[in-house]
C-alpha cells in the first residue's frame, strides 16, 4: 500500500492527463493504468472556448484523486500563486510543486522550489515536490515539511530512463522512510520496473503513456511493470556475481569425474 499524506493507495502509478490523442483515450488509459491519482494543471480560460469546463467534467467522471501541478512556473512567487488558485479550483491541499529553472532541460530550480515549499507548507499545503536527486535539496524539502519527494529520472518528456541511477540509489538509501516517487523522464515499462526494484515507492508518468502508439495498451504495460518491480523489491533481489554458479545440482551429474588437472 502506498501512503501519501495519510491517504492509502493500492496503485503505485500516478498518471498525467496531457497529450493524449483524444479525451476517450485519456479515459481508457487511466482505467487501464489502474491509477488512483492523476495530475492536472490550470491554464488561462478563454470566455469563448471555455476549454477547461469540458475538461473538468471529464476529470470528475474518472473519480481519481486529483493532483494539480504548478507546471510552467519559473519563480517561487508564481508557483505559490498558482498553488493558491489550484487549492480553490480543485478543492485540495495537494500540490505537485514545480519551479522550473530552464526551458530546455525543464530541470527544477531547487532554490525556488525550497522557498515555495516552505511558504506553502506553512499554509497547510501537502506538497509533492518535483525535484532532482540532489541530497541537500531533498533534506531542505523535508525540513520545509514535504513528506514525499519526487525526483526526476531524466528531463521531462525525454524518455531516457534513469540517467543517474547511482544518485537515485543513494537518495533511496538516504531517505528510507520518505515515500519517493520517480517523476519524469521514463520512456519504457522496463525503466519503471527498474526504479521499483530499487525500492522506489511509485512512478509518475505522462508522455511515455500518452504519446505511445497505443496509450491504453502502454498504460497497462506500465501498470504491470510497476507491480512486477514492486513485487521483486519486496521479494528481495539476489546479489549479482562475477562468475557463473550452476543452478542445476552438481552432485549426481552423470559421467561426472573429478578433474585432476586443476
Amino acid at each position: 500500500m502506498l501512503t501519501l499524506y495519510g491517504k492509502d493507495f493500492a496503485s503505485r502509478l500516478l498518471l498525467g492527463t496531457a497529450q493524449y490523442p483524444s479525451p476517450e483515450s485519456l479515459k481508457q488509459a487511466v482505467k487501464a493504468s489502474g491509477a488512483e491519482i492523476i495530475t492536472v494543471s490550470l491554464r488561462r480560460e478563454s470566455a469563448r472556448a471555455r476549454t477547461g469546463q469540458g475538461f473538468w467534467a471529464l476529470i470528475e467522471e474518472l473519480g481519481c484523486k486529483v493532483l494539480p501541478n504548478t507546471a510552467g512556473c519559473h519563480t517561487a512567487k508564481e508557483a505559490i500563486a498558482t498553488a493558491h488558485m489550484a487549492r480553490e479550483l480543485f478543492n485540495t491541499n495537494w500540490i505537485k510543486l514545480e519551479v522550473i529553472a530552464n526551458d530546455d532541460t525543464l530541470q527544477p530550480d531547487l532554490f525556488g522550489l525550497v522557498e515555495a515549499a516552505g511558504a506553502l507548507s506553512a499554509e497547510g499545503f501537502e506538497i509533492l515536490p518535483y525535484t532532482t536527486e540532489d541530497l541537500s535539496a531533498a533534506e531542505r524539502l523535508v525540513a520545509a515539511g514535504c513528506t514525499v519527494l519526487m525526483p526526476w529520472a531524466a528531463p521531462i518528456g525525454s524518455a531516457r530512463g534513469l540517467i543517474n541511477r547511482e544518485a537515485l540509489k543513494t537518495l533511496r538509501a538516504y531517505f528510507p522512510d520518505i515515500p519517493l516517487i520517480v517523476d519524469a523522464g521514463l520512456g519504457a515499462p522496463s525503466h519503471a520496473a527498474e526504479v521499483m526494484e530499487m525500492g522506489y515507492d511509485a512512478v509518475l508518468l505522462n508522455t511515455a503513456v500518452a504519446k505511445a502508439g497505443d496509450p491504453v495498451k502502454m498504460a497497462a504495460a506500465f501498470a504491470r511493470a510497476i507491480e512486477a518491480g514492486r513485487l521483486a523489491f519486496e521479494a528481495g533481489l539476489i546479489e549479482p556475481r562475477d562468475m557463473a554458479s550452476p543452478s542445476t545440482p552438481v552432485a549426481g551429474t552423470p559421467f561426472f569425474k573429478i578433474d585432476h588437472a586443476s
Partner: protein, 65 residues
Amino acid sequence: MQIILNGEAFATDAKTLEELCARLGFAEAKIATAVNGSFVAAASRGTTRLAEADEIEIVAPRQGG
C-alpha cells in the same frame, strides 16, 4: 478602462473582479483568479476593485503532467 486579461489588452468598465467574471460568462464556471500576480479567492472577487492596467488571470482546469 484598459486591463490586461490573461496576457492580452482588454477594455472593460467592470468595477470589480466579480463583475468582470460575470460579463465574461464565468459567473457559474469552474475558474480561479489572480490580480497582479496574487491569488484572489472567489469570495473576495466582489470586493476586489479593478484599476487601470491591472493584470488579471482567469484560469480553469486543464490537462497536466
